[in-house]
């Protein structure tokens, strides 16, 4: 095991950072340059440390992995990134690979498999968690790829996204009209457009869609930047 790669771990869960750092160092002789759950700190660590590999979670708060990834690239940091997450959503998988990650691993894969995958990614391979491989293939089969969250959101205007977000919080048209200082009829029109663009039939379906697809205004704007 002469291969000695250096990594930085980005995860907003301290326990995961600590567990993985020690596992990688002890088991695989991988050098962990730093770990953090904070976006600014992450950018600093990557800029100073220039690791061979960045291991990153997706669902982090307040700055999620996709947003952070876009920011890292915007800073001119080219270190390859591998995702290590609990999310088994096809949509996240698609977004991650579109953003140029070198691997997509799941936290419930088993520690030995995670270590092995990270070693291989360090050698330049691309590794996908077995559970996600079929989903990746689906994305390539015409007709089965399905529309991803980004595809849907791209169809909506900023205003429509904003209204969708209010719908997700259970607000009525009238309440939305008040908040946005526009007429009730305008809101109705927007809602009708949202429904037709998303192929839905009721405002509740739209609200459920928004919750399930984690629509927020910023996420909509950034999603295109990272995609």
């Amino acid at each position: 095991m002469s291969e000695s790669i250096s990594v930085v771990l980005i995860d907003d869960h301290g326990l995961c950072r600590r567990g993985l750092a020690e596992l990688l160092e002890r088991r695989a002789g991988i050098k962990v340059l730093g770990t953090t759950g904070d976006a600014d700190e992450a950018v600093r660590l990557l800029r100073d440390g220039r690791p061979d590999l960045v291991i990153m979670d997706l669902r982090m708060a307040p700055v999620d992995g996709f947003t952070l990834l876009a920011r890292i690239r915007a800073e001119g940091i080219e270190s390859p990134v591998v995702v290590l997450t609990m999310s088994d959503l096809k949509d996240d998988l698609a977004r991650a690979f579109r953003a140029g990650v070198r691997g997509y691993l799941l936290k419930d894969m088993g520690p030995d498999d995670v270590v092995d995958a990270i070693r291989r990614i360090g050698r330049g391979e691309i590794v996908v968690a077995p559970l996600m491989a079929a989903k990746l293939v689906d994305l390539l089969v015409p007709g089965k790829e399905g529309k991803t969250r980004d595809d849907y959101l791209k169809q909506l205007t900023e205003r429509e996204r904003e209204i969708l977000q209010h719908l997700a919080r259970g607000k009525s048209n009238k309440a939305i009209a008040q908040v946005l200082d526009i007429s009730h009829d305008t809101v109705k029109l927007h809602v009708r457009h949202i429904l037709s663009k998303l192929g839905l039939t009721s405002r509740v379906e739209a609200a459920v869609f928004a919750v399930e697809h984690r629509v927020s205004m910023e996420a909509g704007g950034r999603a295109r930047a990272s995609g």
């Binding site: 567990g19 520690p111 607000k171």
Partner: protein
């Protein structure tokens, strides 16, 4: 029935409303706001208004359920999934240590798993308690009230709840973070502080809220507070992580013999971000 003003339709409120044919009993924001337009002409004419209201109530209920489900998924992710991942990693190292005959490390990894299991169990208990109390239209405040009322019996520490925000109304995802931070602070009071009395204070501060947990216990040495973070008492790191998700901050003041004060400040508005899985 009074529920706080705000965006969050509560499940119990919606459920009660659905069972009640009288519009005045509806207390779901969507239904309430839609009704505003026709309040004059619809008053007293339940027969024509009822189907429309029933639809609005159903819609509000489904939206609330979708939000609740998302919040629960986030909680399981934050509370349990990370602990399980950690334990599996520790078990893997434990196996190595046993194979190498390294007793010192074996004992260390074993005890990491052991304390992580204890923590996971406690968090699971909190989640169950919280999900159960979420069904109450009063949400977080009621959950805190319930915690306070049973605290003395459970822990032997007299806990006083000074609530200066009787109309607190937060989105469910924020409520659950606050609830867990308070639970964590209170767990420290009963496990480490050796306190006789404790006080939980909730008040409005500027554009946000402040929650303070004070106790008259043995306190923690300053260097331990600083060091403990990630390595020692997970509680402190986890409280900080949760405070960060709220866009807020957590401070811990303590000195040996002088009790401990955990202070959480968080802005009333949600930071703009995606929710997690």
């Amino acid at each position: 029935m009074q529920t706080p003003q705000g965006d969050r339709p509560t499940i119990a409120a919606a459920a009660v409303a659905e069972a009640d044919p009288h519009p005045r009993a509806f207390d779901v924001p969507a239904a309430r706001a839609e009704r505003g337009a026709s309040a004059n002409d619809a008053a007293g004419h339940d027969a024509t208004a009822a189907p429309e209201h029933a639809r609005l109530v159903r819609e509000a209920l489904r939206t609330a359920l979708a939000n609740e489900r998302q919040m629960m998924a986030n909680e399981v992710h934050d509370s349990l999934a990370q602990g399980l991942t950690y334990m599996r990693m520790r078990m893997s190292l434990l196996r190595d240590a046993i194979r190498d005959g390294d007793d010192v490390r074996a004992i260390k990894y074993w005890s990491d798993v052991d304390s992580s299991l204890t923590n996971a169990h406690r968090r699971l208990r909190e989640l169950i308690t919280y999900f159960r109390s979420r069904m109450d239209p009063q949400g977080l405040l009621h959950a805190l009230q319930e915690t306070t009322e049973t605290f003395l019996d459970r822990t032997g520490v007299a806990l006083e709840f000074a609530n200066r925000v009787p109309d607190l109304d937060l989105p469910v995802g924020r409520e659950v973070q606050v609830f867990h931070i308070v639970q964590e602070a209170l767990a420290n009071v009963c496990m480490h502080a050796n306190a006789r009395r404790a006080r939980l204070t909730l008040e409005r501060k500027g554009a946000g809220y402040e929650i303070v947990v004070d106790d008259d216990g043995v306190g923690i040495a300053a260097d331990l507070v600083a060091e403990h973070g990630e390595a020692g008492h997970y509680g402190i790191a986890i409280m900080r992580e949760r405070a960060c998700r709220l866009g807020g901050e957590l401070t811990l003041d303590s000195a040996p013999g002088a009790g401990t004060r955990v202070r959480l400040y968080f802005p009333a508005m949600e930071p703009q971000t995606e929710s997690r899985l």
